[in-house]
């Protein structure tokens, strides 16, 4: 059974159809890359999977572990293991990263009927995870993403992914704005989390990240549809010839 199964999905935003009959199957243990021109609907797709309000689902369905995800509240989706690393992570002034992560992790655990982490348990866990991603402790004491550089924000997304251990990780342009070293750290963070218990969807514009994480499948998305799916070599092909051929087809 597929971990994520999207069938003939149609999504409208402000009276415009942005996803236009999209099918996608992601199995446990797989890493899928989605590439595609600006405005093709990649972020929209990730938002709809995570349950962001403001989109009109006009057709199709999304199943997660066989369950109808579209009928599940967004915070319940998170507790069930849907994680989205945002293309543009927001800032939350006055709320330290540490407190935010603890509140979120415990909310998820509570929803799963798991014991909430005590302060010492949480601190131990967050130190381990932050250490493995080269994230300094004082960053955790700052307001969530407040004054973080673009690269730091992205690393903070990976930190959360590592902390929550979700079943499905959707990474929306996690590589944008990263310097070479940060890219390596983020990629290795992703690779560490790669597991037969988990699947990932990596949205990117660049082959660079894919060189590090070696996806199982690469999809090309254009105008709200998956136009082509193939192995990693598709990324190379796109880099050479661009998206024009797919846009014509759409």
């Amino acid at each position: 059974m597929a971990l994520l199964e999207i069938r003939d999905l149609h999504v409208g935003v402000e009276d415009r159809e942005v996803i236009r009959g999209l099918d996608l199957n992601v199995n446990l243990g797989e890493v899928h890359a989605i590439m595609g021109p600006n405005g093709s609907g990649k972020s929209t797709l990730s938002h709809v999977i995570a349950g962001k309000p403001g989109y009109e689902i006009t057709g199709g369905q999304i199943l997660f572990r066989g369950e109808n995800l579209l009928r599940t509240e967004p915070n319940e989706r998170a507790a069930k293991g849907v994680f989205l690393a945002f293309q543009y992570p927001v800032e939350i002034p006055g709320v330290t990263t540490m407190n935010f992560l603890r509140a979120a992790l415990n909310a998820q655990r509570k929803a799963r009927d798991q014991q909430e982490f005590s302060t010492p348990e949480f601190l131990k866990r967050i130190r381990e995870v932050a250490g493995s991603l080269n994230i300094p402790q004082d960053m955790l004491k700052r307001g969530v993403n407040v004054g973080f550089s673009g690269g730091e924000k992205k690393r903070n997304e990976i930190l959360q992914m590592a902390l929550f251990e979700p079943g499905l990780c959707i990474l929306d342009e996690i590589d944008s704005g990263l310097d070479i070293d940060a890219l390596r750290i983020v990629a290795s963070g992703i690779n560490t989390l790669r597991s037969p218990e988990r699947a990932m969807i990596v949205i990117t514009h660049y082959r660079r990240l894919l060189d590090h994480i070696m996806p199982d499948v690469v999809h090309v998305m254009s105008k709200g549809r998956i136009m082509k799916s193939a192995g990693k070599e598709l990324a190379l092909e796109l880099e050479a010839s661009g998206y024009a051929q797919f846009e014509d087809a759409a």
């Binding site: 967004p74 915070n75 927001v90 939350i92 407190n99």
Partner: protein, 498 residues
């Protein structure tokens, strides 16, 4: 945020219409008949065995009040109050004198227990001294002067305070026991002619707290009063007077909740603070009165005059307030910076939800040289509420080198509420430096969704974002209060989303 989880559970439990503190205590009370007249003023004064000068003072205020009209400049809207349709005096039936807990009506004690507030200090309140080594050092002592309806029924810690020379007692007692202090300072900050509500208070004030800290004394504990309105239709007219003599320090906490009712309740308190040379007063309030039901019915009308006088050089007065309750709030804790190098501070969190109307802010009046003031105001409007910050900063022509910094931030939740900022700034000399910053923002959908995607419910997300927004002010509250306030803040935003 540690308290967030708990906070959110409370949010879920508590519904605007099931106001948690909306219960009534069944105790007989002694009431004056409805309405206001010289006879009623005399009745109140008599009830309290007041000396003749006090009655005179009240009567003068009453006559003055008859010539005044209710102010209308605030951005609040309410049906006309019929001042003849209110009770001006109610007291729990007196048992002898109350010197120990046993003598207090158990019903009253139960009320406090339900409020879950001062009885956290039960042992101390009961005079049970903690055994050596058992005392939790993190837990600072709090002396509670409980104002129940109009009469203070319990005053604790008297002995320890007495040792330090601090006078902390109901003002009705102070009038009898320390007339020289009361006569010297009462009305010296807020004169009887000050404004309609304060003048009314001067005529009919029922009780309140009196604090005097002698020269050079650092008050050994936080002083605290919990107010509670309990009588149907009883206007509450608290009067508080705090004097910090030269080189002294005192921190005073005020908090209150009120039972649910249909009729609107009027509250017109007056608080006067006097800081002499090198003295410091820190006054913190958490205000959580019944705000009215989900249709905007009922709720407390809160017209408060709070003013501090930095009378001495190098003195300091700091107001911190968390305002979440009341149907109408009309309140401007202010500082008169008279002494050279004196300093005034105002830290405020004002939250409005449902149909609440808040018009609050401060006045910083710079009179002395090198005086400085700081205003940090955080207004949060949700539901169909209106939230106005009104602030006045002035520098007298002799106030050379006066400095003020004002930061005034408003946060809107939803699109049916309003936030307004009305700053008045006037400098009569060119050496004054006034800085003013103001922002208004909405809780953004993107921020909420970010939190929700991480597993938080919408209420939890709002609670988190709001607590972050007000953090700078929360930090100014004494610790115990900060925790309570944090819970209260999320509680009061119940039903503001979705």
């Amino acid at each position: 945020m540690v308290a967030v989880q708990e906070t959110v559970e409370r949010v879920k439990r508590i519904d605007v219409d099931q106001y948690r503190y909306g219960f009534e205590t069944l105790i007989d009370s002694e009431k004056a008949p409805k309405g206001l007249s010289e006879a009623i003023v005399k009745f109140i004064s008599q009830k309290k065995n007041e000396p003749a000068w006090m009655l005179q003072w009240r009567l003068e205020a009453y006559r003055r009040w008859l010539t005044m009209t209710e102010p209308t400049w605030a951005r609040v809207d309410y049906p006309k109050i019929d001042f003849q349709d209110l009770y001006y005096y109610a007291a729990p039936k007196p048992k002898k004198s109350v010197s120990s807990l046993d003598e207090i009506d158990p019903e009253i004690l139960k009320t406090y227990e339900k409020l879950g507030i001062p009885l956290r200090e039960v042992a101390m309140l009961e005079g049970v001294e903690p055994k050596v080594g058992e005392e939790d050092p993190a837990r600072r002592k709090i002396a509670v002067d409980a104002v129940f309806d109009s009469v203070s029924v319990a005053t604790t810690f008297k002995a320890e305070l007495k040792k330090a020379g601090v006078i902390f007692m109901p003002i009705s007692e102070a009038i009898r026991e320390h007339p020289e202090l009361v006569q010297k300072y009462l009305g010296s900050v807020v004169p009887t002619s000050d404004n309609f509500h304060a003048t009314l208070n001067s005529a009919v004030f029922s009780d309140g707290s009196f604090v005097y800290v002698p020269p050079g004394v650092r008050c050994p504990m936080e002083l605290s009063t919990y107010f509670r309105i309990n009588e149907r239709n009883t206007g509450q007219f608290e009067r508080t007077l705090i004097i910090a003599d030269k080189g002294s320090y005192v921190s005073y906490l005020e908090g209150c909740t009120a039972p649910q009712r249909d009729e609107n309740q009027l509250h017109a308190a007056v608080v006067e603070l006097v800081a002499l040379d090198d003295a410091e007063i820190k006054y913190s309030t958490v205000q959580n009165w019944y705000p009215g039901n989900s249709e905007g019915k009922g709720g407390i009308y809160n017209f408060v005059t709070k003013r501090g006088d930095c009378r001495g050089n190098n003195s300091k007065i700091s107001w911190t307030q968390v305002e979440t309750g009341s149907a109408i709030t009309w309140k401007y804790p202010s500082c008169i910076l008279r002494g050279d190098n004196s300093r005034g501070e105002f830290y405020s969190i004002a939250i409005s939800n449902g149909f609440q109307q808040v018009d609050s802010g401060t006045k910083m009046i710079h009179l002395g040289k090198n005086t400085s003031s700081r205003i940090i105001s955080k207004g949060i409007a949700a539901g169909k509420s209106q939230n106005t910050y009104r602030g006045l900063v002035t520098a007298h022509r002799k106030a050379l080198g006066a400095r003020n910094f004002t930061a005034c931030d408003s946060l809107l939740i939803g699109d049916k509420c309003g936030a307004h900022t009305v700053p008045y700034i006037e400098a009569k000399n060119s050496s004054a430096t006034f800085e003013h910053e103001a922002t208004t923002s909405k809780i953004s959908e993107d921020v909420l969704f970010y939190c929700i995607q991480r597993g938080l419910s919408e209420e939890e997300a709002v609670g988190l974002v709001v607590n972050g927004f007000v953090k700078q002010v929360l930090q100014k509250l004494p610790m115990e209060f900060a925790v309570e306030a944090q819970k209260l803040i999320s509680t009061s935003l119940d039903g503001s989303v979705g």
